[in-house]
């Protein structure tokens, strides 16, 4: 019968002082950080005018609103809403496609393995970052000033804000590509353009296609909201119905959005599987 060796506490303590007696800084770090986080949270609650009475009356109101939402009912404007939903889907599809087309060449400029010079790459990256720093809704407002109210402004807003995101994602995909195939093309006498076309693109395109599909899906969500500022789509109807307190129509519109997003989710999931294969998706 075997017996576990009895550990000698003193000896262990001498050997691993860090574990038995961690320095005060390490021991205090977590509670202090948690306390700081909580302090800022409380300050935020006070600064942002949170009060229990306001919260309670608000919840009471919200309860009423929810009750009034049932059952969802489009009234007589179902065809109008369906058209608006179609508009939203169109905005998402077109905006994402335009963004992807323009982002591909720019992302090459932002990739480390294609443009080794920091001087050229840095401004391109910062440019993409600043585009990304501005929300889609702000872009929608800007484009409304330029091309007027309507879904076209929405398409352009989605296209511009996705351009920034795609530029970054694509360049990361390109940087992650395998060098060996590019070197193979060069060894057989290909030019720089050949290297990109035959060495990089076959590796990168499936990844990019997956990302574009994912963005079409997430843009269906963004496209529903840019209508709130007047850039077309179902958001316009939604904001209007909320303003005139037609809660049954509001809940119907929200349901429509949920169903549409779920449908796009399902379709793009299938397509992604078909393009990249099961392994890459997981």
């Amino acid at each position: 019968m075997s017996q576990l060796p009895t550990p000698d506490r003193e000896q262990l303590r001498a050997r691993y002082p860090d574990i038995f007696e961690p320095p005060a800084a390490a021991r205090l770090a977590t509670p202090v950080m948690a306390l700081c986080a909580f302090g800022v949270f409380v300050f935020g609650l006070i600064d942002l005018d949170f009060s229990p009475t306001k919260l309670l009356s608000g919840l009471h109101q919200l309860g009423w609103i929810t009750l009034m939402m049932i059952p969802p009912d489009p009234g007589s404007s179902l065809p109008l809403y369906l058209k608006a939903l179609g508009e939203t889907l169109s905005i998402a599809l077109l905006g994402t496609t335009i963004a992807a087309i323009f982002a591909l060449p720019v992302s090459l400029l932002a990739a480390k393995n294609i443009v080794p010079s920091n001087i050229l790459r840095f401004p391109v990256r910062r440019f993409l970052d600043s585009i990304r720093g501005v929300d889609t809704l702000i872009w929608a407002l800007v484009w409304i000033n330029v091309v007027g109210l309507g879904p076209f402004a929405g398409v352009l807003a989605i296209a511009v804000s996705d351009f920034g995101a795609f530029g970054k994602l694509f360049s990361e995909a390109i940087e992650a590509a395998d060098r060996k195939q590019v070197e193979g093309i060069r060894a057989s006498g290909g030019s720089a353009l050949h290297e990109i076309r035959f060495g990089l693109m076959p590796q990168v395109l499936p990844v990019i296609a997956g990302q574009v599909l994912y963005f079409i899906e997430s843009n269906t969500r963004s496209a529903t909201i840019i209508g709130i500022v007047g850039a077309g789509g179902i958001g316009l109807q939604l904001a209007e119905q909320i303003r005139v307190l037609e809660w049954q129509k509001v809940s119907f519109l929200i349901l429509m959005i949920l169903v549409a997003v779920a449908a796009i989710d399902w379709i793009s999931g299938k397509l992604r599987f078909a393009i990249i294969g099961q392994r890459a998706v997981v």
């Binding site: 905005i91 077109l94 501005v134 407002l141 800007v142 879904p151 076209f152 307190l245 509001v250």
Partner: protein, 294 residues
């Protein structure tokens, strides 16, 4: 060193070539078909979205000149020639910006706490009952799919104008998004410690606390920080519907054509987003650098 390349007899070669050509042709046909389908969808979408290239090209000058206008002061000089005049309202804007960051901080924290409480019920391997998991998942999906600003629109009516509606909208949306991400981390966690803890007769809560939590905590914090960064961007537009933050100032400036104000506010937003981006990135590498490296 010489290597011999074996050359197949022409009959065999022809057969192989034929098969190769057929395989390629099939692939090309499928690709062409897919491209045609996609193109048709695009055309339909273009009609649906009332795309008008003529207006686009005739107004594109507007877009360029819009940027030159927002970069011009009222006196006609470029904005960077007189920074004091450009950022004349910096005091007010910084205050609003602080409010924006606070909205997203408080919203993210509430969302993270709620997501933390709910995600164990939504994860496949830790949920106590299938029906509970189903309900939880649908609930999180709902919170995630309805855009934050739609919640804000409704909350503004229920809770009144002000940052509180914005905070709650951010919180609900974050709960949905984080709940999903958290539960995915839990699903990837190793289940052996859970079995170990359960074999000592521990309750479900102790199992979660002592077996699952130590594995997933780092991932949680990392996702919550990322969400905070995203929420700053989202909170910057909450003001569009009256839910507090810098968006209020921005929408007034854009609608009333206070050109140089627009660019000044945009610059402050972009700089803030950059700073938060860098800070959270630093914090994440600081907190989880050790785990990531191993």
């Amino acid at each position: 060193m010489t290597t011999a390349v074996s050359i197949l007899p022409s009959q065999q070669l022809a057969l192989l070539n034929e098969t190769y050509r057929k395989a390629v042709a099939r692939k090309r046909l499928r690709l062409t078909f897919g491209a045609a389908l996609f193109f048709a969808a695009l055309v339909i979408a273009a009609i649906g979205a009332e795309v008008n290239l003529r207006t686009f090209f005739s107004y594109f000058g507007n877009f360029v000149s819009y940027f030159s206008r927002i970069l011009t002061l009222e006196s006609g000089a470029w904005v960077w020639t007189d920074v004091g005049e450009w950022f004349w309202g910096w005091h007010k804007w910084l205050k609003m910006l602080g409010e924006t960051v606070l909205i997203s901080y408080v919203g993210t924290l509430i969302g993270a706490v709620l997501a933390f409480a709910l995600n164990f019920f939504a994860a496949e391997n830790t949920s106590p009952a299938p029906w509970l998991r189903f309900i939880m998942r649908r609930l999180l999906e709902f919170a995630r799919t309805v855009p934050g600003i739609v919640f804000a629109l409704i909350f503004v009516i229920a809770f009144g104008l002000g940052p509180m509606a914005g905070v709650l909208a951010v919180a609900i949306h974050s709960t949905g998004a984080l709940g999903k991400q958290f539960s995915e981390i839990v699903e990837n966690a190793d289940m052996k410690p859970v079995e170990g803890v359960r074999s000592t007769g521990a309750s479900w809560i102790s199992c979660m606390r002592f077996a699952v939590l130590p594995q997933v905590m780092a991932g949680y914090a990392s996702y919550a920080l990322l969400r905070f960064e995203i929420n700053v961007r989202e909170a910057s537009v909450m003001g569009f519907v009256g839910a507090g933050g810098i968006g209020q100032e921005l929408v007034v400036a854009i609608r009333k054509f206070y050109y140089s104000d627009v660019s000044a506010i945009l610059v402050t937003i972009i700089v803030t987003v950059f700073i938060i981006d860098i800070l959270t990135g630093w914090l994440r590498s600081r907190l989880f650098g050790k785990e990531a490296r191993t």
